[in-house]
């Protein structure tokens, strides 16, 4: 394994974390969805590089799925949905953006702190990837927590899935079964989300989760 390929891989993974931060920073829905596309694109690049570096051709499939489906279909579909729902206006984060970013940096530090020591024996190609993938997962979760809009939550969720994808790609020799299943579940997940958003659109005038909360079961 050459140092070069490790460096490239690490750089790509680092870009993915950066993309997560960009998503965290975005306050407008269309921009956020663009960032989501970018996020998935970087993921596809990173996976492809892994495929090349590991000499594992099946990972190219995964990269392709990520490129076409996650970077292409989903953001576009969500963009349309946003437009159809008429919510392509500004969205607010709960806490201040600055605070969120600080928390995100903390999370990255945490994931490095947790993962780097434990993967000491692992392949260097894997090592950084896993740590950064964990950062992406945690950042995705943080975003889900700080966002109120259902669409942005879905976007955050997908970014989290990307992190998991990254980790799966880094795990050398992991059977294709997993990638396919990931793809399938993401597809299904998206279908379900679509159904739900449709229903939510049907029943409520907004997809703001707050509106859903008005109908919690036991409120007097």
């Amino acid at each position: 394994m050459s140092t070069f390929s490790i460096d490239v891989a690490n750089t790509l993974a680092g870009f993915l974390v950066l993309a997560s931060f960009l998503m965290l920073y975005q306050v407008r829905l269309p921009a956020l969805l663009n960032m989501l596309g970018l996020h998935a694109f970087i993921l596809a690049m990173a996976v492809a590089w892994q495929a090349y570096a590991q000499g594992a051709p099946e990972l190219y499939v995964t990269a392709l799925i990520a490129l076409v489906f996650k970077a292409g279909v989903i953001p576009v579909a969500l963009q349309r949905m946003v437009v159809r729902l008429g919510i392509h206006r500004e969205l607010e984060a709960v806490t201040g953006i600055g605070l969120t970013m600080l928390a995100g940096i903390g999370l990255v530090a945490l994931s490095l702190e947790v993962m780097l020591p434990v993967t000491a024996h692992a392949d260097p190609l894997t090592r950084e990837y896993i740590a950064l993938a964990l950062s992406v997962v945690l950042l995705g979760l943080l975003m889900m927590v700080t966002r109120r809009n259902a669409v942005s939550q879905v976007a955050a969720f997908l970014s989290m899935e990307n992190g998991i994808d990254l980790a799966a790609a880094a795990a050398q020799g992991m059977p294709l079964v997993v990638e396919i299943s990931i793809a399938f579940s993401v597809l299904i997940a998206f279908l379900v989300i679509g159904v739900f958003l449709f229903r939510i659109r049907e029943r409520f005038d907004t997809v703001d989760v707050r509106a859903l909360d008005e109908f919690r079961g036991e409120r007097r």
């Binding site: 894997t126 997993v178 939510i200």
Partner: protein
């Protein structure tokens, strides 16, 4: 491989047929038939256990789960026939949704059975996801505000949980790769377990944290529990019964497998304290939450959280007694809680409400339903002569001898929960009759069958079953 074919194929085939059928009577019967075939095949696993391979596996541990799962699935399908019939009459469900419901029921059964028999940590993840998604669909089936909200909540929390679980799975694979090499071997239970001693313990620790939180979400452990009460309360009651009786167990099963793996790896953190902490938190939290419940199904959902807390606690205490108690408690909880949901389902139908305040004097207006509910609550509260008593006896006594403070907390939780359940069930079952008193056309057979099993288990546990449980308990470490 024939029994496994039945266990997996019957639901799959059933789902396909049911998706095409539209008549209520016929589809209900097909539903029952498919569930029965699965159950019968599961029973066959006792006599004809397939060797298993890299993909599928039948061992002592999961046979317990498979049989239990198919049995509860079967009884629930019987209950579901009469329950759904009533829903059609009242117009809460339309025939179109009915077709969807029945197909989804079998898909869910397939997912759960697949999760239980798979020998692959990736496959189990996929199967759990499948079961989750199908239940999400069914929770939202009434399309009321509350149902949609519950389903949405369930979906989001479930997806995040499953995401964490996948990340954990990948980490496990990573830990295994240097030892067993890549490929399918790196994801097969049997292989993993055999080589667990050589894994990097630190990596396995991190993996377990993710798996605990991920599958723990599905188990309904606090603080990841939030989806559970609403999903139970707003979906059709057969789904509540299956959720409590089966889905939680399936997630628990996955958790147990990973726990065994971690325990087999020297140098890793002990999984016990984590499980004990989460178990106690869930138990205490849920038992306190029980007091303010106004919706009867949601109340029993919290009771499920409480019991999952106890079970996880017991597995966390481990040792032959702790594991035995955990297994027993799990089986008993499945049977009892689904029986309670059968009863509650009919009660809610005859009283045309789920609000506790609007029910009363049930033992007078509907003696059979009322007394079954009381018996069920007595059983779930851990009173003899029912099986939960046996397991709680073992959990508490074995814990107290080892960690008195934990046992005191456990007992506190149990008492608080008993107080709440009894308070509510007293007001539902006794006092002057409130709500409609029209006779119910309930199917009592599944309910009575479950309660009878729980009763028998409380008095007498067959020796082979015990030997088997003990063997499994030893496997669990």
């Amino acid at each position: 491989m024939t029994p496994l074919l039945g266990v997996l194929g019957a639901p799959l085939l059933g789902a396909a047929i049911l998706a095409a059928l539209s008549g209520y009577r016929l589809s209900a019967r097909v539903n029952i038939a498919a569930s029965f075939v699965a159950f019968a095949s599961a029973l066959l696993l006792f006599v004809d256990r397939p060797a298993g391979g890299r993909v599928l596996l039948v061992d002592d541990l999961n046979v317990v789960f498979i049989v239990l799962s198919t049995f509860v699935g079967f009884t629930t399908s019987i209950f579901s026939a009469s329950y759904i019939g009533h829903e059609l009459e009242t117009g809460r469900l339309t025939p179109a949704y009915l077709r969807f419901y029945h197909a989804m029921f079998q898909v869910m059964m397939f997912g759960m059975n697949l999760a239980l028999v798979s020998n692959n940590i990736g496959l189990i993840w996929v199967a759990v996801e499948l079961a989750t998604l199908s239940t999400v669909m069914m929770v939202g089936i009434y399309r009321t505000h509350e149902a949609i909200e519950a389903a949405w909540k369930y979906f989001i929390l479930g997806s995040v949980g499953i995401g964490l679980a996948l990340f954990g799975t990948i980490l496990v694979y990573l830990a295994a790769r240097p030892v067993v090499g890549g490929g399918m071997d790196g994801m097969a239970w049997t292989v993993l377990l055999a080589h667990a001693a050589g894994f990097d313990p630190a990596l396995l620790d991190v993996a377990f944290v993710f798996l605990l939180l991920g599958y723990g979400t599905k188990v309904g452990l606090a603080p990841m529990h939030a989806w559970l009460p609403d999903a139970h309360a707003e979906g059709p009651t057969p789904i509540s019964a299956v959720l409590s009786g089966l889905l939680l167990n399936v997630a628990l099963y996955a958790l147990l497998r990973f726990k065994v793996l971690l325990a087999a790896c020297p140098g890793g953190i002990a999984p016990g304290p984590l499980l004990i902490t989460l178990g106690l938190v869930s138990l205490l939290f849920a038992s306190v939450m029980l007091y303010r419940r106004r919706d009867i199904k949601r109340m029993f959902a919290y009771s499920s959280i409480e019991h999952m807390g106890i079970i996880v606690f017991a597995f966390g205490m481990a040792g032959p007694l702790g594991n035995f108690a955990g297994l027993l408690q799990m089986v008993m909880h499945s049977l009892t809680k689904s029986a309670i949901f059968f009863s509650v389902g009919h009660v809610a139908q005859v009283k045309r409400t789920q609000r506790i305040a609007e029910m009363g004097g049930l033992t007078e207006s509907h003696p059979l339903l009322g007394w079954s509910l009381i018996v069920g609550v007595a059983a779930i509260a851990g009173l003899p002569p029912f099986g939960v008593f046996t397991s709680e006896f073992l959990v508490v006594t074995s814990t107290f001898a080892r960690a008195p403070l934990l046992a005191v907390l456990l007992v506190l939780g149990l008492l608080i929960a008993l107080g709440a359940l009894l308070l509510r069930v007293s007001s539902v079952a006794f006092g002057p009759v409130r709500g409609p008193a029209a006779p119910s056309h309930a199917s009592f057979v599944p309910m009575f069958a479950h309660l009878a099993l729980v009763l028998i288990a409380g008095v007498w546990l067959p020796a082979p079953l015990v030997a088997w449980f003990q063997h499994v308990a030893v496997l669990l470490g």
